[in-house]
């Protein structure tokens, strides 16, 4: 394959990002203003946090369709616990992340212990988790105490809380993925699960943990957005699993496993939000906006499959001895 295309494929997200920014900057003066860019990052925290979580799953060549429902159920559980036990918001945050992790653990049990395909398991829990939330609330809106919104609007040293969580999580995830045994072994499993097993990598335990992480991140992501709104609607997070997967894939994660990074997920989520904001800025017809987003997601998946195609060619078996160059 031509080296130019190779480089383009590897840095597809960055290239698309720059083009998108330039386009909107030309179309709408003021788009590149600091305040607007800050808002974009703040708004991408919601999808971005869950995208970092799902990147762990995608790295093992798995999938988690339940994140949208976890975004709804975990904060709901936290809200109920906060109300009934009179807990503060920080404690509620911890309960929410723990609840998300627990929901992820349910996925993990079915996937690893009972050996059911992740797609099917998380499709089932997508409905189950949301159904359980609807049962708890009778599909009514759930209101959080005013302290919740104060938490969402607060900032530390001028950095808004959502960005703080988003950035903090991205840094931690990056270090876990690149500098720990757990992280490197996740890449190994995604590259070749059978070889990983033969090399003594605890494949089952690793696969279980990535779903717990994805659940915990989805819980955190839901909490971060709700803390900005102050209430939880019955339809909260519905369909968001696709935004989350799109963000991760747009950030370079491969659905075939073994490729992806935490910062990639950040870039992917921010890119999607940039497009959304940019479309509003430039006054594109409201009804055309989903189509533009769809085109970007399609582009991301196309790049992923081109990359995979290239990898396959490299892996193809050769019988005839090569000649020395």
């Amino acid at each position: 394959m031509r080296p130019g295309l190779d480089v383009a494929l590897r840095h597809a997200t960055a290239i698309i990002f720059v083009c998108v920014l330039l386009y909107f900057a030309v179309q709408a003066p003021g788009f590149l203003a600091m305040e607007n860019l800050g808002n974009i990052v703040k708004q991408s925290a919601f999808i971005g946090i869950a995208a970092i979580g799902i990147t762990f799953v995608l790295l093992t060549a798995g999938i988690d369709l339940s994140v949208g429902s976890v975004m709804y159920l975990a904060p709901l559980i936290a809200g109920i616990v906060m109300r009934d036990l009179g807990l503060g918001v920080p404690a509620g945050l911890i309960v929410c992340v723990a609840a998300g992790a627990l929901l992820g653990a349910i996925n993990a049990v079915f996937i690893v212990r009972l050996n059911i395909v992740p797609f099917i398991v998380t499709l089932a829990t997508l409905f189950a988790f949301r159904g359980f939330g609807a049962f708890l609330t009778s599909s009514r809106q759930f209101d959080f105490p005013p302290a919740m919104r104060e938490f969402g609007q607060a900032s530390v040293f001028g950095v808004p809380n959502p960005i703080l969580f988003f950035g903090g999580l991205a840094l931690i995830a990056h270090f876990v993925l690149t500098r720990t045994t757990f992280g490197r072994q996740i890449y190994a499993v995604g590259n070749d699960a059978e070889a990983a097993r033969k090399a003594g990598v605890p494949v089952a335990a690793l696969r279980a943990r990535v779903y717990v992480i994805s659940g915990a991140c989805a819980g955190l992501s839901g909490f971060v957005l709700i803390s900005q709104i102050g209430r939880l609607d019955a339809g909260f997070g519905e369909g968001r699993e696709f935004d989350v997967i799109a963000a991760a894939v747009l950030g370079g994660a491969s659905l075939f496993g073994g490729v992806g990074s935490a910062f990639g997920a950040v870039a992917g989520a921010t890119l999607i939000q940039t497009v959304k904001t940019g479309l509003v800025f430039t006054g594109v017809n409201l009804y055309l906006q989903p189509i533009v987003q769809a085109a970007i997601i399609f582009l991301a998946v196309l790049v992923d499959s081109l990359r995979e195609h290239r990898l396959r060619r490299l892996k193809r078996r050769v019988i005839r001895p090569a000649t020395d160059a």
């Binding site: 720990t180 045994t181 590259n191 070889a195 990898l311 490299l314 050769v318 019988i319 001895p321 020395d324």
Partner: protein, 498 residues
């Protein structure tokens, strides 16, 4: 010398079919053992037992004087046994250093100690003379270099026994030479090596002991000095075949049905030409990885081909499998369960899969169920499938032999002119084998050409009019009946035998 690894009356059978039987052998510490045998002689099964991938059905192994019964591949690795497989177990998305340390990263403050793995790996690579930074991604390495990384992994784990399984198949001559240097150094360090290869002259050169397997049994073992290549080959063969094959009913006709000329695909095939006459059974023999199945896939249009031409009945073959089936090609794949059948679907549905469009009626091509039932029922009788209700019974409920007949029947319904049979009797019991041979003979007698691919030399000798031999993607020889087994095998091994 003491035995590092020994087998006592070791056996393994798969569903009653023995793969290794009653094998007793000792591997001396510090020796280099060459393990040779035909395809299916039991080499892989034996080594998989050593590697903890396969559990023996009977007998014992001992390692360093103690009873040895590994439960997993990791178990064997911990004891100090390393495998360098044909397909390497490396992670292409990780660096060399990360691959070496994947199961046991040294830690510092809870994080991977990157300085240490880099330095340790650099030292290993220097010992093996691989000139790459430890941080290079494995994806960027050539096949030969990847193999050196595997060896670095083995050295890092202080492996006492290193098993090489066909290590030179995808290496350039220069890479092979370097590998042999490295093996010589491993020997000098006192490590024990088991070297499995089809390249007998390499075995002769590298090894100080040779063990020959045939049909899962140890034929003979001894110091390499007493084994010349001719003796190795003669020792690998030697089975009697009488009454295993039906007599051929008709002689080949004069006209050529199928012709391939100068087929070439970089890295896979080189200038392969062949022709099959009507009524002829042309055998294609070769060792594992010789390119037989790849050739079949190219002929059938499943894989691309860069050079050469294909003609069926005088007409150029082009396009994908669909067009080639329409032109009169049939392909019984070597992988019946995954590629040849829809296991959960009924027998009848499997049989009519290729010819299903001929049962469409009217503008919407609605399936004519009556005609379909009639035709599949007739085909069942013709090929003698033993099944209950073929419209309901799923194919997976049939025995291997009957399944294979369904695959052949599926193609018969479209009336092809050239049959490619790739390992048609694999995993089939002796009785059903005979029926499949008889079916092949009937196809030939009815005027179709047959390309019979097999790694069992006996069945080719028993069934074919001619046998062609492939090795490393090219045709190395062609033989006509009466066949000389030693010569055919020698051609497959690329060795000259007087």
């Amino acid at each position: 010398m003491t035995a590092l690894l020994s087998f006592k009356a070791l056996s393994k059978d798969w569903f009653g079919v023995p793969a290794v039987s009653d094998l007793t052998l000792e591997v001396a510490r510090g020796s280099t053992l060459g393990l040779i045998g035909e395809n299916g002689a039991g080499k892989s099964t034996l080594m998989n037992m050593v590697g903890g991938v396969v559990t023996p059905s009977d007998g014992e192994m001992s390692w360093k004087g103690e009873a040895y019964a590994p439960r997993s591949a990791a178990d064997a690795a911990v004891r100090g046994i390393a495998f360098i497989h044909q397909e390497l177990n490396l992670f292409t998305n990780l660096s060399i250093a990360e691959n070496v340390f994947i199961d046991s990263f040294p830690k510092r403050f809870g994080m991977i100690d990157r300085t240490r793995i880099r330095e340790d790996t650099a030292a290993l690579l220097a010992r093996l003379e691989l000139d790459h930074s430890p941080e290079t991604l494995v994806a960027e390495l050539a096949p030969g270099e990847r193999q050196i990384v595997e060896i670095a992994k083995a050295l890092h784990r202080e492996a006492d026994l290193i098993i090489f399984d066909e290590p030179t198949t995808s290496l350039t001559p220069r890479e092979t030479a370097r590998l042999f240097d490295v093996i010589a150094r491993l020997k000098a360090e006192g490590r024990t090596v088991i070297y499995i290869s089809h390249i007998l002259s390499d075995v002769k050169m590298l090894c100080d002991e040779v063990a020959v397997l045939r049909d899962g049994r140890l034929v003979e073992a001894g110091p390499a000095e007493v084994f010349d290549v001719g003796r190795m080959i003669r020792s690998m063969i030697g089975r009697e075949l009488a009454g295993m094959f039906p007599a051929r009913t008709a002689a080949p006709q004069a006209d050529v049905v199928f012709e391939a000329e100068g087929l070439g695909q970089p890295g896979v095939l080189e200038a392969v030409s062949l022709n099959v006459r009507a009524g002829e059974v042309l055998g294609l023999f070769g060792l594992m990885g010789s390119g037989r199945s790849e050739l079949a896939r190219v002929i059938f249009g499943l894989d691309p081909v860069e050079r050469g031409s294909l003609r069926l009945g005088g007409r150029e073959l082009a396009g994908g499998p669909g067009a080639r089936i329409a032109a009169g090609l049939a392909f019984v794949t070597e992988n019946r369960r995954d590629e040849g059948l829809m296991l959960d679907a009924p027998v009848a549905e499997n049989m009519s899969l290729v010819a299903v469009r001929t049962f469409g009626r009217g503008p919407l091509a609605v399936l004519d169920r009556g005609a379909h039932e009639l035709a599949t029922e007739r085909m069942r009788g013709e090929i003698g499938v033993r099944a209950g209700d073929i419209a309901r019974q799923p194919v997976k409920a049939l025995s291997g032999g009957n399944q294979q007949k369904v695959v052949i029947g599926k193609w018969l319904m479209s009336g092809p002119r050239l049959f490619i049979l790739d390992e048609p009797t694999r995993g089939v019991d002796v009785g059903a084998k005979y029926e499949i041979y008889a079916l092949a003979d009937r196809l030939a007698a009815s005027g179709a050409g047959i390309l019979f691919i097999s790694s069992e030399l006996e069945e080719l000798i028993g069934m074919c009019d001619r046998v062609m031999v492939m090795s490393r993607g090219e045709v190395t020889a062609e033989f006509a009946a009466p066949f000389d087994r030693v010569k055919i095998l020698a051609a497959a091994f690329r060795e000259a035998v007087a």
